[in-house]
Each structure stands twice: as C-alpha cells, then as structure tokens.
Symmetry: C2
Subunit: 210 residues, 2 copies
C-alpha cells in the first residue's frame, strides 16, 4: 500500500528540495540534532529537508498537545500558526531550510513551491483533526498508526515498518488521551499481533486493518 | 477585543477579494444558498468571498466530523484535503470564487494571494485541533465560543455577538462529543450568564473568560 506512494512522494520531494537547495545554496541548511528545539523566527517559514519535526503547544489544561509531525517537503513556522506557545522539536536528526517571508512574496517560483508544501502540511493537520474525532480510543490509535504507515512506512518482510519512533506519551499528546490509556491499548494491539515491534520500530502486520 | 481585529481583517480581505474579483470578473462568482451543498471539482480551489462554509467528513464511527468553518478570504477544496468524503455546505447565503489550479500555478500574484488564504485556513484548522485537545468538555465549548467571537464577533451593548449560528449538533460535530452533552453544558453556560441569546444569536458577556 505504501511503497508506490512513498516512491512518488520521494521523487517529487527530491526534485523540489533540489530546486530550493540550488536557489538557497546548501550552506543555508540548518541541522537540528535529535530531541533539540528549533529556534524559530517570525520572519521565516521552515522547510523540512530531512527528518521529522514535532510541533507542539500547551492546551488550557496545561498539557502538551502535538499539532503536527512535519516531514520532508512540508513547511512549519510560527508565522503559519496562531498557537501560543508554538514549539518545534527534532525527532531524529533533521535538516531544515529557513525561507524568508519577503523572498516568498517576491519570488513566484518559490511562492508556488511553498504553497504546495503548505498544502501538504495542511492535509496532515486536517487528517489529525479527523483522527481525533474518533470516539473509541482503540480505533483512534489504530487510525494513527495506519496514517503513520502511509506517511512514513516502507515495506518489510512482516508488513509495513514505520520509520518514525513515537513514545507512548507522544501518542497520548497527539490523540488527547493519557499515557496509561495508550500503554494499555498498545499492549492489546501487540498481543493480538495487530502491531509488532522489530528493532525498536513499529511494524503493521497483515492483521492491521480497522 | 474583536472590533479592531475584525476591521483590519475586513480591510485586508476587501482589498484581496477586489483584486481577485477584477481578475476573474464578478460574473464567475457562484452563489450558494443557505444549507446547500457545494458541487466541488478536483481542479479548483474555492475562495470564500462572503459567508461561511462548513467542511465535513465522516469518521470511522460513521459520525459527522466538522473539519473547518471556512469564511471570507479563506480557501477550501477537495484538492487541499485528503479526507474522504469531503463535503462543503453553506451556513447562510455564500458567495464563492472557484479558482483553477492551473491558473494558480501560472499566475504569481494569484499564487501569493492563495498561499496567504491557505495560511489562514490552516491556522483555523490548527486552532480547532488545539481546542479538541482540551479534556474538560465545558472548557472545550468555552474555548470554541471564544474562538468564534474572535473570528466572527462584533461588539454589542451586552458583549460580543457571534455572527454565525451553530446548532448543538454542529457544536458536537466540531468538538467530537454528543448533542446531549452540548445541550447540558450550554444550559449551564446560559444559566451562569457566561453566554446569552439575543435575537437567536449567541452573545459572550463580560463573564465570558476561561
């Protein structure tokens, strides 16, 4: 289900990033090591070249809410958001390309590229909103993993391995539930072989349908 | 809190829509009467000129989930989304401007305008995601009304009147809860004068803080 999607995404994405890298020169790329926070600036939009960036805010309850997992050829930035606080963390090693808002306004090729990148970020946010509307928490978690497999999956001998590692707490922050609930449901999913762990990565098996 | 926000939004929005109307000629504007469904097409992005469009899908539970309330100078369309089904309904009388994807790619002025319109739609979706992460349903409903007051509010003698009418069922579909829960909490909010009804419109009073 995912290999062809990933391939086409990857080709398109490589071309897009190459154009932008040439335009901006590779020296402008910022590397953010795993777990580090990105120092944001209001006059830039950030394009993810490699890796996954976790966007989070605090909700009214004072709890962390994850607003997005922004990856290759998607954009993020305070200027796109009205959330306060708006924090971005690298999940694994990330390369980012900061692009100034002024340049986007002045450069037509760039503005079309950034429009398409924002479209992808938007689609992902809408998908999370849709997943969050599922009442039964087990189905919500299953839907999240199917979404992750479509976005970050690649085929392996046992099914689809997901190339992004989320802790139970992060899953809870994405789906607005508690870590305890996530741990309980994840145990059930592993027991029924809906999900397996392979070299500390999640694998969706043949049974992984809703 | 809202009048200056609304004024600046309104000026910017009027200018933006004027530019687009001149570009496209007013004859291309599509009028959708209250409650009607928009006939979408994959090769167009829709700009809301006047009114509010409700975007909805069905979640896994088979229940309606509202993904956005798209209003003046925001965009929507199947092509921006990966949701299936993706349905758009007019809340009140709406004027829409369909803009072809080909024209957006070819016209730099247009692509920058549509980028900014998508940015606003994205911000709203992210805000709904953030509101949905609030655990306590009373706070979730209060946050929704404060958001609606900021987006669609205007000052009146008793506070901020919200110029958009949502049914209890629509509030439930926006916040992933039941109509019964919404009705119960709304009764409490009216009783405590947090919210009042005036000529069948909601008004946030001086007590309307979280």
């Amino acid at each position: 289900m995912t290999s062809s999607y990933q391939e086409s995404l990857s080709k398109e994405s490589q071309l897009f990033i190459k154009v932008l890298e040439n335009m901006y020169h590779a020296s402008h790329i910022v590397n953010i090591p795993s777990g580090e926070k990105v120092s944001l600036s209001k006059s830039y939009i950030w394009l993810v070249v490699r890796g996954v960036i976790k966007i989070q805010t605090l909700n009214l309850d004072g709890e962390i809410s994850i607003l997005g997992l922004v990856s290759s050829d998607n954009v993020f930035g305070e200027t796109l958001s009205t959330s306060n606080p708006y924090e971005a963390y690298a999940m694994g090693n990330c390369d980012l390309l900061p692009i100034s808002l002024i340049e986007i306004e002045q450069n037509p090729t760039l503005s079309i590229s950034i429009f398409n990148a924002l479209r992808k970020t938007y689609q992902q946010t809408e998908m999370l909103l849709s997943i969050k509307s599922i009442r039964r928490m087990e189905d919500r978690i299953k839907s999240l993993f199917i979404f992750l497999a479509e976005r970050y999956g690649r085929e392996c001998k046992d099914g689809i391995v997901i190339d992004i590692r989320l802790t139970h707490q992060e899953i809870a922050n994405l789906l607005s539930t508690t870590r305890v609930t996530v741990t309980r449901i994840m145990s059930d999913l592993k027991e029924s072989k809906w999900l397996i762990l392979e070299r500390s990565k999640y694998v969706l098996t043949q049974r992984s349908t809703i």
